[in-house]
Amino acid sequence: MNKRIYLDYAATTPVDSKVFQAMKPYFMEKYGNPMSVHGFGQESLEAMDKARTQVAEFLNCSPSEVIFTSGATESNNLVVKGVIRSYYSKFPTNYKSGTNIQITNKKFVIPHIITTRFEHHCVLDACKRMENDKLAEITYLTVSKDGVIRVEDVKKAIRPNTILISMMYVNNEIGTVQPIAEIGKLIKKYYPRLIFHTDATQGANYFDCDVNNLGVDLLSMSAHKIYGPKGIGMLYVKTNTPIRRVQDGGDQEYKMRSGTHNVPGIVGLGKAVSMISEQRPKNKEILKLRDYLIKRVLDEVSHSHLNGSKAKRSPNNANFRFDDVEGEGLVLSLDMEGIAASTGSACSSGALEPSHVLLSLGLKPEQAHGSLRLTLGKYTTKKDVDTAIGKLKEIIKRLRKISGGVMKEFN
């Protein structure tokens, strides 16, 4: 079999060898629990403190504002549920998931959260749960056709009872960049009590994550999208942000996240984060290669389209749709040629419904079904891209021959 080509860096990235080297001692030699008083523990604690500092430097925050979690999904759940929990803690209630809240305090108003329709499922479903449990009202902002949220729409959605805005930095499927810093400014100026959260999972490699520049109170990140290991992530929690832990247990992570520390993972996250800035020059090459990919596909494949804005887009993301072609067949065919791509998010590949992200752009279901996401990374070469384009053209021709004109009956 020919060399396999990986064009799914948005799903996950390989661990960088330097990251792996940094992690290695913390499995078999330095295995102490950082909460332990003895030398073994202190050795691990030291490594963990270093990682916390590395993350803090990257975000330009204090190390005490960095909470390690198992990944962005956990961080995002903690944001939505933890902010709601903190809010309800101010009122004497029978707070319990799934029960009707009866609060007699006259000052009580049901809290309101603003998020977007094309958020990752971990945010969307956490919000839906709060909504179903009648703990919060949620506004799901509509997305403009180019895949970018309008600041005006955010402003209009803010109500007196709004407590949290949660919006992703870069969309995981179409790679569009949201105006986080602009919204951050707006909030700080006019609504200083509002909590602003961004899920920066897909943005960390390519965009400024200085929390002061962004004006966020909470920021989620994951290691495995930045050449770090899977199963580790973090949540930045600005000092004095009203949020409570949702996982009960030990005193780890300033009592914000219980559970024994994943020390090798934390060390890996720290190392991966510290390497982001030195890799930034490489990003220009990735962008050039991505633009080359987009241009060639749109030029050489008839009836092909780019989903989402070309300009306001992560440098590594290309998301196409092809008329009269179905995405899964396309991904399957590419895989048989040794090329790894995806239709959308790897997290929803079990679903048969068209992607909620693509539908939020106003695409028809059949258009959404005909989509393909190619995401590049630091190991992608021009040869990889050329090979992929060549195969893509052959496969689309073949699949269009099989589909004939069946779609015409529905147009």
Binding site: V325, G327, E328, I402, F410
Partner: protein
């Protein structure tokens, strides 16, 4: 979710793919929301016993690997068979012949047998109208 060898084989080398001009029966099933649309064309002939048979059958399919493979398989199973036998080919037969389908694919992507039955009905309806 993984496809069987048989599914991949039919997906990469589909049998009886294409269309039949002046077909005796045609039917389309599926819808754009599901993402799988299958169209079956049949040409009716007679065997030595004078029974009506599916002399030729072809398909066009827009859909996932399973949708293409089930379409291909149903044409394989039905070609040359009598109308009665073709009507007895079930979705279960198709998935069995393909060494099984991932559970999520059984519902949406295994509609080829229904398209075949509909194409035969379409042929019968046309016949009635002629009389």
């Amino acid at each position: 979710m993984k496809y069987s060898k048989k599914v991949l084989e039919h997906f990469t080398h589909p049998r009886n793919q294409g269309r039949i001009r002046n077909a005796d029966g045609v039917a389309t099933v599926g819808n754009p929301v599901c993402g799988d649309i299958m169209k079956i064309y049949i040409k009716i002939g007679e065997n030595k016993k004078g029974e009506k048979i599916l002399e030729d059958i072809k398909f066009e399919t827009l859909g996932c690997g399973a949708a293409v493979a089930t379409s291909s398989m149903v044409t394989d199973l039905a070609k040359g068979e009598t109308i009665e036998k073709a009507l007895k080919i079930s979705r279960q037969d198709v998935s069995k012949e393909l060494q099984g389908l991932p559970p999520t694919k059984e519902h949406c992507s295994n509609l080829a047998a229904i398209a075949l039955h509909d194409a035969v009905k379409n042929y019968k309806d046309k016949l009635k109208k002629k009389k």
